[in-house]
Symmetry: C3
Subunit: 158 residues, 3 copies
């Protein structure tokens, strides 16, 4: 039982570390939160609910995540903005010693230079997390966001 | 002591399940989060703080919750919108083996079709939770929201 | 190990109590969350990241916090507003039996009279928390907020 308690608290820590990595602008470290053969997907809710294949981002394997990092840091031109993730309590669906399936609601607040902070993206994470020697990693992370209307582009990962 | 830890984590899970039920649009399952003789109340802060009786919703017993579900799903006409609850850490006021009194801040982000996501409702939950054979249930849930100005109607439960 | 679990849950409770104190408008109780020789700092991210000394508030010791409370309650004239803090999961950086270094993202929703609720301030807490006989207290709390553009003044603590 204590194992389950520990694992839940480790999961919270993982969410907090993940948010801090992105919100601090340490996007180069972002792929380290994932397993080698991970799946990262960012998809509007409408497409997700209907099973439509189109997604804003659909990355298979850490290599594709690193490509995205390269794009974000080296080739995409965009007005700079800050992100701030606030993540709600995790809904743990399955948990054993090796893996956790969990969901969590999130809201990302965006702040552009000389602008007030605003709601940028809200949705839920559908996560499969595994425990490796190096700690908890996302084997799959699907970010389903509520609005199909995105103000400007989504540059950074959610 | 471990009991207290467990119960706190179960409370987090309850909040997460509650949010997921509403945000997934599974409103028919919403009454199952409550005891038979529950009290659900949605009230602006101004009225709550002054002890005024008027509330946006004031439902006594699961039957009234089911009536509300019927209204939401069958008789109310409204522009569709998504809800997304992000709930903060619980402030546990009392906890024994049988019941928990707790508060938690929340923000609900609303997304209307072809609109950006926006802050819809922010406030705090005042909850009394009991442990039944079927798990934790709300014996009372009072949602005190900060704004008396509500953009359009509140259709779905908060 | 159970000690660490307990302390993490106590930290969550501290965050919840802190938010409730401010959001309930009990600003006079705010200094009680801090040690006698505490440091409270509210600073825009741009200044924090560049190591610039200017801060919106920079209070050393509980006496200065009490001065601020006096200002807020007795000398500052401002349009009234409600605050609502929603705090994300804590990122615990260090934890032993005596102290915790932790970060947490937050968003503060503001509601002005007859106005819809809106994002007011978003950022992260950088906290050093110590365990005294009277419970967990902030030895240092640095609130780094993302927007340098603040709509009206920040009157109440964040």
């Amino acid at each position: 039982m204590t194992l389950a308690l520990e694992l839940r608290l480790e999961l919270q820590q993982l969410y907090a570390e993940y948010a801090a990595c992105l919100d601090d602008g340490r996007v180069r470290e972002w792929p380290e939160f994932f397993t080698e053969d991970c799946h990262y997907r960012l998809v509007p809710r409408e497409n997700h609910d209907r099973g439509l294949p189109l997604a804003t981002l659909d990355l298979w394997g850490r290599g594709m995540l690193e490509d995205r990092v390269y794009g974000v840091t080296s080739t995409l031109f965009h007005a700079p903005y800050y992100q701030r993730h606030v993540i709600g309590p995790a809904r743990v669906m399955e948990l054993d010693g090796l893996a956790i399936c969990a969901e969590a609601n999130y809201v990302v607040i965006r702040t552009r230079r000389d602008q007030p902070s605003e709601v940028f993206n809200a949705g839920r994470y559908l996560d499969r997390v595994v425990k490796l020697g190096s700690g908890l990693k996302f084997a799959a992370k699907v970010c389903v966001f509520d609005s199909e209307l995105v103000g400007n582009s989504i540059i950074y990962p959610i």
